[in-house]
């Protein structure tokens, strides 16, 4: 098993090498040849080692080298864009370059309030004015966005049914935008890592030719079709059994539907913050994505339940793997869940079938899952989702046990001192105290002082003399496991990678997760059970209602904890933890250095805006004058509201219309900025119908005057 883990890491190192130094396409066959030669050599070495005294280490080294070259070649080959049939050769930077792309929808369309997004696998394409005939596409994908303004298409394609359809998009294929700032986030790279090289946006429903043509309403991969239909059925159960906004959270944690959470507001009255933002500040966003954590929680719950009935591990393993596969199907098989299911299934399988420890099985599972994922798409190596999930599990495997050993040494006065330090650190991290610290560089020396104090306490007060009954080992086992797991993830994943990828670090995370993770451990299995039970005709809805009533309380508790975390703890910007920032960091000097440059940029922008305004204002004034002239002509019937007015404007001008919105469950604070036609559409009615109701109220109350 160790040899296989070694070869897996050699492959990963090879992929990393490809990232650092990708070879040109003509060198890739050379790497593959080296892989084959070394693989044959290593196999011969293993055979000879069995028969004679040939050192096994040499054969293992050859095997590792062969995997290294395979990884390097695989990554380099993923950039073979010189093929004339690759979709990247059809992209353009101008909206004037129209094109037609025929392809198959290969992802479940993601529905947002303003757009539907899906991935198209192109079959053939044609550039208007450049190609006479359609050309076959050999590689690359296109991301298609259908705006809400293209009403018919937004509704038609905003369903899971659209998966597998063959369609034609008549719109420019634009190259995805690069980073807005140097070294900033690049949407182009982000999409390229998913094999997407072009973007097409549909903003209107009309045109000649029409922007979208449905060629075949066929079906995609049968398993995915089945998975998506189950997902929709479970969502339909949630809609009837758990109220808004708890329903959006449940759909997010169990099925990975995050689009509905985008505009959901905090449940605490008087706070306009969005739940997603609060989750970010509280460091609990990870529970909203169906990822390793959910799969691990599900595996853990199943393991605990089956073990409680004294079922042997060899019998448990296939049952748990089967349930994980079902979970994967129910969640619509997103890549993160596939990765996590693979990792967990391998770990449980080898734990049951081999004589190794849990740690060795875990390390093997991680390594082999990484090989499979990277072999399919080597560009995953730089994706945050991949590195964060593998770093989390690696931290659990590598750091948790040493950390447990260190913590077990905390006894007597040393334990009391450590608990006091943790309490003090918590106090420092809360808003009033943290804001009072003007030099972040002080935190490093304070930490060193605390560690030095621990050594002094240990030597001054031996564990058996002062408070001998106080010890970490005497804490409840579930609390110890949780503390160790949290500590390992914080040290191995959160502190280094969260600051690296997101530039911010949640100080509330360790505390909020203390409650949020166990809560998710209950909410996810209960929610899935409710979703499945709810599909039973007749009594199913009632049972799901009972289960989701419990979930409703738990989700509200989750929201309240998240909100309390945002009130208590700050959410500081932290670029990367470096020695300089920990011990010497003084950001004021940096600000002083960049201030002149920023002033210059602002001055330039103001000048630019003045120029723009000088050109634009005459045009606007002319247009307004024309509109005033048009208004001066007598109208046939007085209209006080029209569909382009926002809800806020209508409520401000005609306060008596508020009951109409309340009756339609329109949340004025949330949907106030939306136009009336959009609000009407969202709430399943015609815009004219809404306008008629509003006009009726305005006329009856006489507030038009």
């Amino acid at each position: 098993m160790r040899r296989l883990v070694f070869q897996a890491y050699c492959f990963v190192v090879g992929v990393v090498m490809g990232k650092i130094h990708p070879l040109t396409p003509d060198r890739v066959p050379l790497l593959y040849s080296l892989f084959v030669i070394l693989l044959v050599g290593s196999l011969l070495g293993f055979v000879r080692a069995r028969r004679s005294s040939f050192p096994v280490a040499v054969a293992v080294a050859l095997f590792g080298m062969s995997c290294f070259f395979l990884g390097w070649g695989r990554y380099s080959a993923s950039f073979l864009l010189n093929d004339p049939g690759h979709i990247s050769n059809f992209t353009s930077a101008s909206l004037k370059d129209r094109a037609s792309v025929e392809g198959v929808i290969v992802t479940d369309p993601e529905v947002f309030a303003e757009r539907v997004t899906f991935t198209l696998s192109p079959i053939r394409a044609r550039r208007a004015g450049r190609d006479d005939e359609y050309q076959d596409i050999s590689g690359g994908r296109v991301e298609v966005t259908v705006r809400r303004a293209a009403k018919e298409w937004y509704q038609e394609l905003g369903r899971s049914d659209a998966y597998g359809w063959r369609i034609r998009i008549n719109a420019p294929i634009l190259s995805p935008p690069g980073p807005a700032n140097p070294r900033g986030f690049s949407y182009r790279e982000f999409l390229n890592d998913q094999d997407i090289y072009g973007v097409q946006t549909i903003a209107v429903a009309w045109g000649s030719p029409p922007p979208i043509e449905i060629l075949d309403r066929g079906e995609g991969f049968f398993l995915t079709e089945w998975a998506l239909s189950i997902k929709e059925k479970i969502l339909a159960v949630y809609v009837r059994t758990i109220p808004y906004p708890q329903s959006t959270f449940l759909a997010g944690v169990t099925l990975g539907v995050r689009s509905t959470l985008e505009n959901t507001q905090c449940i605490v009255p008087g706070h306009g913050a969005l739940i997603l933002d609060e989750c970010r500040v509280a460091g609990v966003t990870h529970v909203l994505a169906v990822s390793g954590q959910h799969v691990t929680i599900l595996s853990g719950v199943l393991l605990a339940i089956l073990s409680s009935f004294r079922i042997p591990l060899r019998v448990q393993a296939p049952i748990i793997i089967l349930v994980l596969l079902l979970f994967l199907i129910i969640t619509g098989m997103p890549p993160s869940a596939m990765r996590a299911t693979l990792m967990n299934s391998l770990t449980i399988f080898f734990l049951a079938m081999s004589r190794g420890t849990f740690q060795s099985s875990l390390m093997f599972g991680i390594a082999e899952a990484a090989v499979v994922v990277l072999f399919i798409n080597p560009k995953n190596i730089v994706q945050p989702a991949f590195t964060l999930s593998f770093a989390a599990v690696l931290s659990l495997g590598l750091i948790s046990w040493p950390l447990e050993k260190i913590l077990c040494r905390l006894k007597g006065a040393l334990f009391a001192y450590s608990a006091g330090c943790v309490a003090l650190a918590t106090l420092i991290c809360t808003k009033p105290f943290y804001d009072a610290i003007d030099r972040a560089g002080l935190l490093g020396p304070i930490g060193l002082l605390a560690v030095g104090g621990a050594f002094w306490v240990r030597n001054r007060f031996p564990s058996d003399t002062v408070w001998p009954d106080l010890a970490y080992e005497k804490m409840p086992i579930f609390l110890r496991i949780f503390i160790v797991a949290q500590g390992a993830i914080l040290i191995g994943m959160m502190f280094p990678l969260s600051s690296f990828y997101f530039g911010r670090m949640s100080l509330a995370g360790p505390y909020a997760n203390l409650i949020a993770i166990p809560l998710t451990g209950v909410v996810v299995p209960l929610g899935l059970l409710a979703g499945l039970v709810g599909m039973i005709p007749g009594v199913g809805t009632f049972l799901a209602l009972i289960l989701n009533a419990t979930n409703d309380c738990l989700v509200k508790l989750f929201f309240l904890i998240t909100h309390a975390s945002t009130v208590l703890f700050p959410f500081p910007f932290i670029e990367n933890l470096t020695v300089n920032r920990l011990f010497l960091g003084d950001q004021d000097h940096l600000l002083e250095r960049i201030a002149p440059a920023v002033r210059e940029v602002i001055r330039g922008l103001r000048h630019h805006m003045d120029e723009e305004e000088a050109g634009l204002f005459p045009v606007l004034e002319r247009t307004l004058a024309e509109q005033d002239a048009a208004r001066a002509t007598p109208a046939s019937a007085p209209c006080h509201v029209d569909e382009t007015m926002t809800v806020n404007r209508v409520v401000q001008e005609f306060p008596r219309t508020k009951p109409v919105f309340d009756q339609l469950f329109v949340s004025v604070p949330m949907e106030g900025c939306a136009c009336l036609d959009e609000v009407a559409w969202r709430h399943g009615m015609e815009a004219q119908e809404l306008l008629k109701q509003l006009e009726g109220v305005i006329a009856s109350c006489g507030c038009a005057t």
Binding site: A236, P243, L547
Partner: protein, 61 residues
């Protein structure tokens, strides 16, 4: 974890759920579906919605 804890947990979850459903009259499928109207765009709201108060009735002083 013993089998008793698992059973106790399931009973507790069901107990809380039943209590909420019995004590909260707004916890009914039709009313819940109304709160979710327009949230899940592509999921149809099943079952007839309960009639809400009319705008005229609400606008009465």
């Amino acid at each position: 974890m013993s089998a008793r804890i698992v059973i106790a947990f399931v009973v507790l979850a069901l107990g809380v759920g039943i209590a909420v459903v019995l004590l909260d009259p707004s916890y009914r499928p039709a009313k819940i579906a109304e709160t979710n109207r327009g949230v899940f765009v592509n999921i149809p709201l099943d079952g007839p919605a309960e009639p809400a108060e009319s705008a005229e009735a609400q606008s009465q002083p």
